[in-house]
Point group: D4
Chain length 240, copies 8
């Protein structure tokens, strides 16, 4: 656009206006950013928590005009019903609270992403990670319930883990699984502490601290229960 | 003694006096408790931190009159020199800060106690546990540097671990080792978080929380860096 | 099995498959581990919190095929009704949320386990410990409401405490009971902080820190409200 | 003074000036408050930490003009030497860092104050409490090293404790002593958590939380290591 | 009783039994302590939270046999209705959740206790303190809503505060009121942090820390929202 | 008044009485302070949380006698209905829970106040700030949803931000917005951490810490979710 | 510059280069920003902590070329000697660690800034605030040692406080001073928690939380010990 | 090897022994793992903190036999001198405490890794990340001092950032840099909180929480000051 200004095909004031307004659309309560997908080559994402169902529908509607795939996270059942009722093509996953519009299922990732969880109770977070990685064009394999207290169950999955190009690892309580898996594989491990536990788990703080102090060097960490973020980072890593 | 009172061989006031004064000796700054060893069948123990070398010597001197084995923990080098210089038969271990008078080496424990550490830096705490368990009459085996990030090193010690009647497990950073070991064996595991680490280890807090949230049910925990307490509890468990 | 491979009675690939699949059964959302009971000589245990009643029933059904005793912890009333309604032989304890299948009441422990609680409000946690220790084949004695503010009530139980081979001690608020009891007896004390209290108890944190800093050396600690873990560790210690 | 204004013996502006300046004297870096002693009937007190020795000397000099007794707390050895070297009549106590000018030893308290400490390492804090209570005109009895792990040592002091009109109780680690003593006596107990301990004592936090959650209702608490405050409050309570 | 043993009027075993059983009565889930009132010269107190209404009624019934005044704290409306419906003479105060049996209104305290609160929202805690101090035989004056942001309101109560023999001071948010009042009076101030506030008040933690660090030396502190404890300690201090 | 005393037009006792009682009115549960508006030149404010609707109505009624503008914060829907139903001229804003009586809309501020929020979910806090600043006589501009992850959206508002005389900046999660905006403008920035987020946001603690550590020097901070305080401080700064 | 591009006097690439490089100068280890002073109308500032003396000298040298006034904070004595030795016109203040080049003493502020401290120990932080506000062109008045425990000393400064256009208020321990002063004046109060205190002050955390929860609405807060930030914000507020 | 067992070329016991001992070498205090480099295709790494210089030399010596590149982190100057003095080919970097043996400088990474730091004080951590990424075969570009308070400095690096295949981003204080950079680029960002700051930075906790709550979805986090871990993960991501 600077070139256009130079050439005189648009004047300075108009350029100013365009630069300011173009990359997003202002709904009043939210600025819908149509360039984000372009910039990141990613589906559009809405974080539903703290927004009304009406706001979520309004934002999703605009995004669906420009993006084939849209992901909505942390939607309660009422929001899930509202969105899938009013906008065609969406699917609601009650375990994780994800709504997904998955109109372009092209595989873009280079390898396989493994989503691992330590226990049955960590499944909602693992599902959020899986749905995110899938909608971003990846082949995803889920391996559930291989906590460190039963190391033979974990070791029996060793070969499948070794095939992954990146691993998302969800665990609550002491959060030790990423350290053990990190030592078994040579790819990056994205650790997701979950709020599963009680007492001195302090809603996931114990798992979070454990993962940050992992003695395996290939581990990095996202926020407690942030399956979406882990799936997102894993997808970026899995790009060719 | 109540029987003696009944029989009239001692009068009530004298009984009162004896009951109050007998089981310990008052040095002014400390009450030396000669019955403790009797009650617990244990060596006498002095926690040196926060005491002057003179106080430690004075207390140790009295205890050595009644006990064959005396253990002094958290003694700095100056205190170690002072005590071993003035009282015969003591040995100072600079790594852990332990001074040990080990005049009765009878083995009293039923089985073997394994003292395991995750990394080289955890050795001072592991040594404190080992010295404690030995002075309390146990056969002790040390296994160092088998952290969870190298699971094959840990598994290669599996059989030795299975022979133990109780395991003391020292680990810093994420503190995951007790969970993995706990799943491999069926004996009790005493977990000792160490202050090894940096940043979000918060001087052992991460390891402590990890161990308290262990998904292995045979794990119980003592204070950060408390090798002595772990060795002590392990010794009690190993009694016939 | 390695011997069988050597002898040629099974071939390498089959061995591989068997080694990977044998020790547990995959229900999709959970890996049911039939060897755990064997390995630990323990009843099977299900942690119900965070699982649906359907998942709990499914897992319990499989476990009951192989184990005579099954323990389910942290089950709400709805889960309790579902499980006891659909599987014969279970009993639900609403105070602690335990469901117990206790088809083999053999006493396996060497001595007596005492389960002590500081106040009436700590009883749910104490009950979870008692039910666990019983199902693991122990004679258990409960002593309730002997907090440290009424030391004569505690001292009146002194002889009973002295008979125990291991003590489980549940206390909330300042969590001082294990220190006092630990000084009275010479057996191991498993301390369980409870979330009883308000304000600066911070849901059991005060009790937890108090117990970790106990000046009695025979005390080790499990997670806040973890009556199950305490009963489990106590049972292991009480083995012959 | 309002009466004087009314009577016209002093005019309004002068009254304004006097009201503003009278009750204290401005040294620039500190406002020396000559009425405080009057108001509280107490010795003057200087908190030396964070002040230079010169500042402490200057403030003390002014206070000694109006007060017979002056107490300086948290003074390091250099400050202790400086003050006792330049101002006559002061005594320095290196264990607690107190400097005391005790020129009026009148007993003003109604009963006896007991200062109790759980361990030898708590003595510096206990000494600060004792010196404070003495300089405020009280008969003080010290009872050291009666921690809760040796309950018979504590019980042997029971009668002496019962004679106190108020008890100051210093303890580190789990801080359980005030709860036990509080249950034995019917007078107020001022609990002082000390920073004695390591690991999960978090520099006195564990003891502080324990004391705040005491199940004995006659316990109130002051800051960690605040022996002075405890001695001060105890003295106020002991007034006739 | 030792004298009786000596004289032979009771034998040793019987004495043993009596000593163990006498001072309290065992209801199974609670040990009702009939000597506590005697020992402390206080009404009996029940902490209702975490107990069923049935348990509260059962304990209260026994206590009312021996004590004229009984105080029940932290009772919800259902418990309040149950107790006052089944036991005659009780009054329920819904603001603070106190149930009070006040059959002996004798004034035993030497002076006046002032119960002060910083804001209207602190009134439930202040009421618990007032009801406690009254049932323990004190004249109590309440002064509400004199927070430090309106210092002239506080100063207008100065004379009334100066008449008190001990002050209970309840404040949430920054908890500054005890420091200011402590500087105005020369009697002991019992500070009660309340959980009033939001955000960085962390449910009373900010007020608690503020009060523990009070620059007024006559302040001691009880647990967050512990109006009962403050009223109790104040009553002990106000004894002749 | 001192002059009146001097002149004898009022006597000393009467002056005493007036000084004590005049500046506020005592409703029993609250002291209504009619001088506050005068002193600060501000509308009267009621914090509704923790007060009954009846108390809020009673206080508001008195305040409306003396003040044209009254602001009530943290009112739930029931309180909103009660107040606007019983007192004429009030408006309830359900998003932020504000009730506003805005009878004097005079603009008193010198410049424009910008209220900025990072995300849609921060709008309730931003609205509280805006309503406060408006009722205090300011021109307010709201700019929503310009979080730091989409820096071009933020930069497109740069000129509007540069026109503000003071900026209120609301952000949850990592709370980075005030730092970035602070670097773009030269006016004061009042940062409001919001409790928006989950997991390691710890209800706004992460945002609070981030803002306190802002590397932009023109940032100061108020409590989590304290939109009112931010609007209030901004209004004071915007005075001529 | 866009206009210049439009007019063709500079070409696009050159504009790109200038836009990227112009506003700051790259020293390798630091980017010296010559526009900052321009943008904010402020002296240049260097935060010395964590930089070598050589780095500080190098940055200061460049800044002094463009700015008449330069402020260096958190410089230790060695850095202070190095800078004032090698660059003319600087003055080092050892109490606060400030180095100041104050070559343009023009008064730019509209009113007076008061810098208040609660105790003598808070003076280093207060001095940093004063030096900052002065170098930014303000008339500053310091009022030291007026803590809330001696409210009459505080009230005697009331008139001086009322004359300020903005107040910086430094306090450690419970941090109550801003609340009390905030209630006395109608101007903004910038609260600075200091790390003065011990035990449960947790290095300033108690004061920080107290100030964030201030019941005075005109208070905003900066980081612990951040006298510089407070002086900076106060200066911005005091602009005409 | 199982095939060999099958074929009978090695017997079962020998296989057992080899499986247990082969992959590492036991130095007593450490188990040197020669397969790690193989498994991860990485240089060998020693964490020097908590080890003696002798231990570091001994371990390094063994590793250099098998690996061309060896990295030693957290070595103090004495350890640096000892290692580089006794083992040829090492270089010590005092700023970050890294010792590097870089005998194989082959570039293995696919693209460029950018290491970004917010301030000059974050350089030690950034250097550790850079040295790690280089020794692992990557082209690394460092960009220092582009904190968010000077957004134009950051934006001037925008194109260089866009060229990176993965970004390591080091920041202390509020830790906002990864969020802003994350929004500008579409590659993964590894965030490293540093302990740079003071007061409420709590040694890096503020930055850590900020990064965990980043509103940019492409951010994952490692431990405070863990430049090594960030460089390691970045290298894995940058593999072809």
């Amino acid at each position: 656009m600077l070139e256009q200004v130079r050439g005189g095909t648009i004047d300075v004031d108009a350029a100013m206006v365009r630069m300011r307004n173009m990359p997003f659309e202002d709904l009043g309560f939210a600025k819908v950013d149509h360039h984000r997908a372009l910039r990141h080559g990613m589906p559009e994402v809405i974080f539903a928590k703290g927004k009304t169902s009406e706001q979520v529908v309004a934002i999703a509607e605009r995004l669906l005009d420009n993006s084939r795939n849209v992901l909505i996270t942390r939607a309660d059942r009422e929001c899930g019903a509202e969105v899938t009722g009013r906008l065609a093509g969406g699917e609601y996953f009650p375990l994780s609270g994800v709504i997904r519009f998955f109109r372009d299922p092209t595989i873009r990732g280079k390898g396989k992403i493994s989503v691992v969880s330590a226990g049955t109770s960590d499944m909602p977070v693992a599902e959020e990670a899986r749905l995110t990685a899938e909608v971003m064009g990846n082949q995803v394999e889920s391996i559930y319930d291989i906590g460190v207290a039963g190391i033979h169950r974990l070791l029996s999955s060793r070969e499948r883990l070794a095939e992954a190009r990146v691993i998302v690892c969800c665990a609550g309580m002491e959060g030790a699984l990423p350290s053990v898996i990190g030592g078994l594989v040579s790819c990056p491990v994205i650790a997701v502490p979950t709020s599963v536990g009680y007492g001195a788990s302090f809603n996931g703080l114990a798992a979070l601290l454990g993962m940050l102090n992992s003695c395996s060097s290939n581990v990095s960490v996202v926020n407690i229960d942030n399956g979406f973020g882990a799936g997102y980072v894993a997808s970026l890593i899995n790009r060719p």
